[in-house]
């Protein structure tokens, strides 16, 4: 598996504030990678470093063997930077065509490519409009479309679905999912369930420090986890689940939600658990095989 991005001991300081603290990670070509963390954790700083918008105070960051900002990355790495806007005075197609030309396409091809990416985000009809004439959500989709021009190998989207209505957010997620065979997406979002659906590798930043997770929980050979979300609060649920023969530990992760650790056996544990709920007359909302990303990050106990 080829390494696309490699960070070694990357530190970024803004005056006395440490935005990134000795961050090291590798991103390989493959399924989308999530970058999560609370506000001010350093996500946008890490994005900015990878895009070459700003520079690390120390450490080394390499993208496809090149330093960020190197001309060899043009067209191979694209991004949706947070809050960045197109020029409000020019039509969208004009600006996207310009970007396509800078990526090495002829004017004609750049124009066709611009029309194609606008179609991808459902804005084919808005090509000749200016960004200032569009709604916030449409502007966001236009800025996503510029990141899809050409054949990028890495696409970084910072808060791509923030500010989009649920329908368009879903369309963007589907688009990312559909294109994830062609490019490696790096996504930052506060919507953990969205990232869970899309991503394999998860980089979690908190106070500038990085930890790595898998969107799928880790099960070992002889123990497993399930996360059960009940439809309402049942007082003795924890006790009942604990009494099941293969259950090792039950943890109430949040209201109506339980993380159940069990010993693997020949019998399917999830069937046992659902039968137990049925016998108790309890309704469940969701059964997840493993830990949710949210629980991995915020409820480590």
């Amino acid at each position: 598996m080829s390494t696309l991005i490699k960070a070694s001991g990357v530190t970024k300081q803004f005056g006395s504030k440490l935005a990134l603290d000795n961050v090291s990670f590798e991103i390989n070509k493959g399924p989308p990678v999530a970058l999560v963390g609370p506000n001010g954790a350093g996500k946008t700083t890490l994005f900015s470093l990878m895009c070459g918008y700003t520079f690390p105070s120390s450490g080394v960051l390499m993208l496809m063997g090149q330093r960020p900002g190197n001309a060899h990355l043009f067209g191979k790495l694209t991004a949706l930077p947070q809050d960045a806007q197109l020029d409000p005075r020019f039509s969208i197609i004009h600006q996207l065509t310009f970007y396509g030309q800078l990526q090495g396409l002829s004017k004609l091809r750049a124009k066709k490519e611009s029309a194609r990416v606008l179609e991808l985000v459902g804005l084919g009809d808005a090509a000749n409009q200016r960004p200032k004439d569009l709604s916030h959500g449409m502007r966001k989709r236009v800025t996503i479309s510029q990141a899809l021009i050409g054949k990028p190998q890495i696409v970084m989207l910072d808060e791509a679905t923030a500010g989009l209505d649920p329908v368009h957010a879903r369309e963007v997620r589907e688009l990312i999912s559909a294109l994830s065979n062609e490019a490696t997406f790096i996504l930052s979002s506060h919507d953990l369930s969205e990232l869970e659906r899309l991503c394999g590798q998860v980089l979690h930043l908190d106070n500038g420090k990085l930890t790595e997770h898998s969107a799928l929980s880790q099960s070992t050979n002889n123990q497993g986890f399930v996360t059960l979300r009940l439809s309402q609060q049942y007082d003795d649920a924890e006790k009942v689940f604990s009494s099941l023969p293969s259950v090792r530990h039950v943890h109430k992760s949040q209201a109506k939600e339980y993380v159940i650790e069990y010993v693997k056996s020949d019998e399917a544990f999830d069937i046992q658990l659902l039968q137990c709920c049925h016998l108790q007359g309890w309704h469940y909302q969701q059964l997840i095989n493993g830990h949710t990303l949210e629980n991995q990050i915020f409820h480590k106990g």
Binding site: S48, F55, F74, H94, L102
Partner: protein, 271 residues
């Protein structure tokens, strides 16, 4: 240092489009055209009448002589002489207005972030600079052609000599405005808005002149510092008294140094 000519040309041409295909750009061109129409009609045309009037010839000789501009009176193309006098001072100042927003607006809006993933910072700085130079060449050409038209209307036989002379003047004027554009390129790398960029430029000229004046008063040798100011040669250039080094060499060196500073600052700044 990575520089791709094709990308640079694309960026420069996009600047031209900014002026001629956007409403604000067209508005600027319209205001510019109206101002120059007034200059041509009430400035140049009237001045030419005065210059060619025998009643005022002695007075004009005295005034131009006192101002060191006697050489201009020898030009048969009087329209071009007056045009030159107005253009050589007004275009550099106009440049400061026109070039206030080379990169600063795009940086504030985040548009530079899209651009910097497709072009090096050197290409962006140089591309924008070249784009502004192209805009100024276009505007200079428009005004020169209008002046030539007036000249041909008054004296058709002067059209072809005037045309050749115009190309020479165009060359001098383009070189004269280049350091002003480069200065704005440099200021744009650290200013936080186009308005602030203009204020910084004014402070640079006003404050800088005062400071160097005071320093030179204490140590006359420091008068040499005046060479850092774009336009230092304009008075000599206007009077056609500047040698090649002063009229061409100095502004080109200033331009080059300012662009190097601009690239260095821009390459190190966060977008």
């Amino acid at each position: 240092m990575q520089l791709n000519t094709k990308r640079l040309v694309n960026i420069a041409l996009f600047e031209l489009v900014r002026l001629f295909l956007t409403k604000t750009g067209l508005l600027a061109v319209a205001v510019f055209s109206i101002c120059w129409l007034l200059v041509l009609r009430y400035g140049i045309a009237e001045a030419v009448n005065l210059l060619s009037s025998p009643d005022f010839s002695q007075f004009i000789d005295y005034i131009f002589g006192a101002a060191g501009l006697s050489k201009l009176l020898t030009w048969p193309e009087a329209e071009l002489a007056i045009y030159w006098l107005i253009a050589v001072y007004s275009f550099p100042i106009f440049c400061l207005f026109l070039c206030t927003d080379q990169t600063v607006g795009d940086r504030q809006r985040g548009t530079l972030r899209f651009l910097s993933l497709r072009a090096t910072r050197l290409e962006i700085i140089l591309g924008r600079f070249v784009g502004q130079v192209l805009i100024l060449i276009t505007l200079l050409l428009i005004t020169l052609l209008a002046t030539l038209a007036m000249l041909a209307y008054r004296e058709p036989s002067l059209f072809f000599p005037g045309l050749l002379h115009s190309f020479l003047l165009l060359g001098y004027l383009v070189v004269a405005v280049m350091p002003f554009i480069a200065l704005m390129s440099f200021i744009n790398t650290f200013a936080r808005s186009a308005r602030l960029a203009f204020v910084v430029a004014i402070l640079f000229f006003a404050g800088g002149n005062i400071i160097i004046g005071l320093l030179a008063w204490q140590m006359p040798v420091l008068e040499v510092l005046n060479y850092i100011f774009p336009g230092y040669q304009l008075a000599d250039l206007a009077a056609q008294d500047a040698g090649l080094m002063l009229s061409i060499g100095l502004p080109l060196i200033q331009t080059m140094l300012l662009l190097i500073f601009a690239e260095r600052v821009f390459a190190r700044s966060s977008l």
